[in-house]
Amino acid sequence: MRSIILEIKDLHAWVGDKEILKGVNLQIKRGEVHAIFGPNGSGKTTLLNVLMGFSGYKVKGEILFRGQNITDMSVDERSNLGIGMSFQRPPAIKGVKLRSLIETSARGKEELIEEYAAKLHLADFLDRDVNVGFSGGEIKRAELLQLILQEPELVFLDEPESGVDLENIALIGEYTNILIGRHQEPDETKTMKELYRQRRKSGLIITHTGHILNYLDVDIGHVLMEGVFACQANPGEMLHTITECGFEECFRCFRKETENVK
């Protein structure tokens, strides 16, 4: 049995008086990657922000990381335990060079910065201010660069493909695989099955378009509706349904099930 890396129990979150998350429950096992689909405003980004510990939310419920309750921990404490996050729209920070941010966040891996920056076509960006004037794709590649060197055990990805052009999406996909430890070369001494069992990194991905799933194997899909998980299923089938019928179908199903419960 794989151990549980992330467990969310009856998580509620408010912004002011408005309840955004209304009792979210989730378990992610070591080595698993989950995807969250959901219409705009369903609470996807709020969920990741609350899991990462950002301010601006009133929170109730429990968040357990490797069994440890992290609900009241600060952002940096969570990060130092091994949780990382790729932002959908990270802030631009004037005067702070991408290189100095990475040198501070990934101490001891200075020699890898140039190597990965080159691989992600970001060599010229290391001496630029963090996210200042970056295009959508450059932002996402810079997020990946920071996270790969940070090496989190559990990574949250908020729409890693948004704003990325078609040319770059394969690159984003490839390095997302590396980030979550799914980039495995065949090994003569081990079967692929054994290699899969060795996967230790986990991920939770928000995707609006689902394009990233063409490059990344996701184990379980969820639909977030009105602040709760409405559905858990095979992510491929889920994406197929959403692409064909839109979130209307999810709403229809969600309402029916809610009524049945009543």
């Binding site: 940096d76 969570r78 990382g84 990270p90 702070v96 941010l101 501070t104 201010d129």
Partner: protein, 394 residues
């Protein structure tokens, strides 16, 4: 009988400071200074080894104890000595900063204990900077200096000056009259770093005259604030196409007052000026003034003044002014005072930085101006200084 002329108009108590200093023996080399003094010098932009410098000047209290020029096209000596050596210096002395401008200019003329004279000869390319340090080692001493800088026609000159106090000094008065002359087609890049004791009162009085096609770049950095600093240097762009860039970086801690401005008067066609300031207060008061006066058509001038206020006890008072006095000119200003966005701090914290590390990185980023036209090694040095700034108060 009290002489009204001999009292400062600000409320500085001059009687706190004594006027007579012990004299100090000369040094053949700045590396003969004590390690403590050398450390202060390094943090003030002065390299005691003199490596990659075209010359050095060191004044301790009222004595010039080291003075050496290592480049043929330039000269760095005591201003008093220069006055004896060059009769023509009278055409410059007091011509940019009038002697009777205020109490401090009068007292500098009356007391004047040296100061530096720096000159680049016509056409000379002085690649490595000349460095000058005005140092106070005696507590409660008044130091009055008069500095003259002349970049002759077509020359290019780099200067770093550091004004600092020895670690044992808490209080003192520094009055400095500085006059700069940038001749036709010359470029002067002048970087001044102040590194004062917490109880210092500082009164620089400076003016710059730039002739046709000349360029003046000024960088003023004060990250170790004094109790009371007041300066408002004026740059006059006198000749056609003259250019001035004035950068100011200030950090005010609790208890300090920094009233720092920059004025540029654009008197000829095609002149350009830019004033940029960055002010951070962790509890002190900063008055960030800026004044651009456009007197001829076709001039272009911009003023940018940004403040970061990190404490409710602090004050940043930004006073940008523009005066247009001709048709067809282009003048603008932007001023902003804000705090650090929580979103930026948390973004960095999500990468594992503590709140303090994140704040400090953002503040240092805010202070690190991308200064154009500065030699790379100097840029690196400035960034090092900002990096080493004590951000514990933040």
């Amino acid at each position: 009988m009290s002489n009204r002329k001999n009292v400062p108009t600000d409320d500085l108590d001059i009687s706190l400071y004594h006027e007579v200093a012990a004299s100090h023996p000369e040094l053949t080399d700045l590396s003969q200074l004590s390690p403590e003094d050398q450390k202060v010098l390094l943090m003030s932009g002065i390299d005691p080894s003199g490596k990659e410098r075209s010359g050095s000047f060191f004044q301790k209290d009222h004595s010039v104890i080291h003075c050496q020029t290592d480049f043929e096209g330039a000269e760095i000596i005591s201003a008093s000595k220069a006055r004896e050596k060059y009769a023509w210096l009278k055409d410059y002395w007091g011509k940019a900063v009038p002697v009777d401008k205020d109490y401090y200019t009068r007292r500098a003329e009356e007391h004047q204990e040296h100061g530096y004279f720096i000159r680049s000869l016509p056409g000379a390319e002085v690649h490595y900077p000349l460095q000058a340090c005005l140092y106070l080692s005696e507590d409660k001493l008044a130091q009055d200096v008069h500095n003259i800088v002349i970049a002759e026609e077509g020359s290019s000159l780099n200067i770093i000056t550091g004004c600092a106090t020895a670690p044992s000094v808490r209080s003192g008065l520094h009055v400095g009259v500085s006059e700069f002359y940038v001749k036709k087609g010359a470029t002067l890049s002048f970087t001044m770093i102040h590194n004062w004791a917490e109880e210092m009162a500082v009164r620089p009085r400076s003016a710059v005259i730039v002739e046709e096609g000349g360029t003046y770049i000024s960088n003023y950095i004060c990250l170790v604030p004094a109790r009371d600093l007041q300066m408002y240097p004026t740059t006059i762009l006198r000749g056609k196409g003259a250019v001035a860039t004035i950068n100011t970086v200030l950090l005010a801690t609790p208890g300090s007052l920094m009233d720092v401005g920059s004025r540029v008067i654009l008197q000829a066609e095609e002149c350009k000026a830019e004033i940029i300031s960055r002010a951070v207060s962790t509890g002190g008061k900063i008055i960030a003034r800026g004044d651009l006066v456009g007197e001829k058509p076709g001039i272009k001038a911009h003023l940018e003044c940004k403040g970061l206020l990190l404490s409710d006890q602090g004050v940043i008072h930004s006073i940008p002014e523009l005066q247009g006095r001709a048709a067809n000119l282009d003048m603008s200003h932007e001023a902003a005072i804000g705090k650090i966005a929580q979103e930026e701090i948390e973004y960095l914290m999500s990468r594992g930085l503590s709140e303090h590390e994140a704040t400090s990185l953002i503040v240092k980023g805010f202070l690190s101006l991308d200064i154009i036209g500065l030699p790379d090694d100097l840029k690196k040095e400035l960034n090092r200084m900002i990096d080493e700034t004590d951000t514990n108060a933040m």
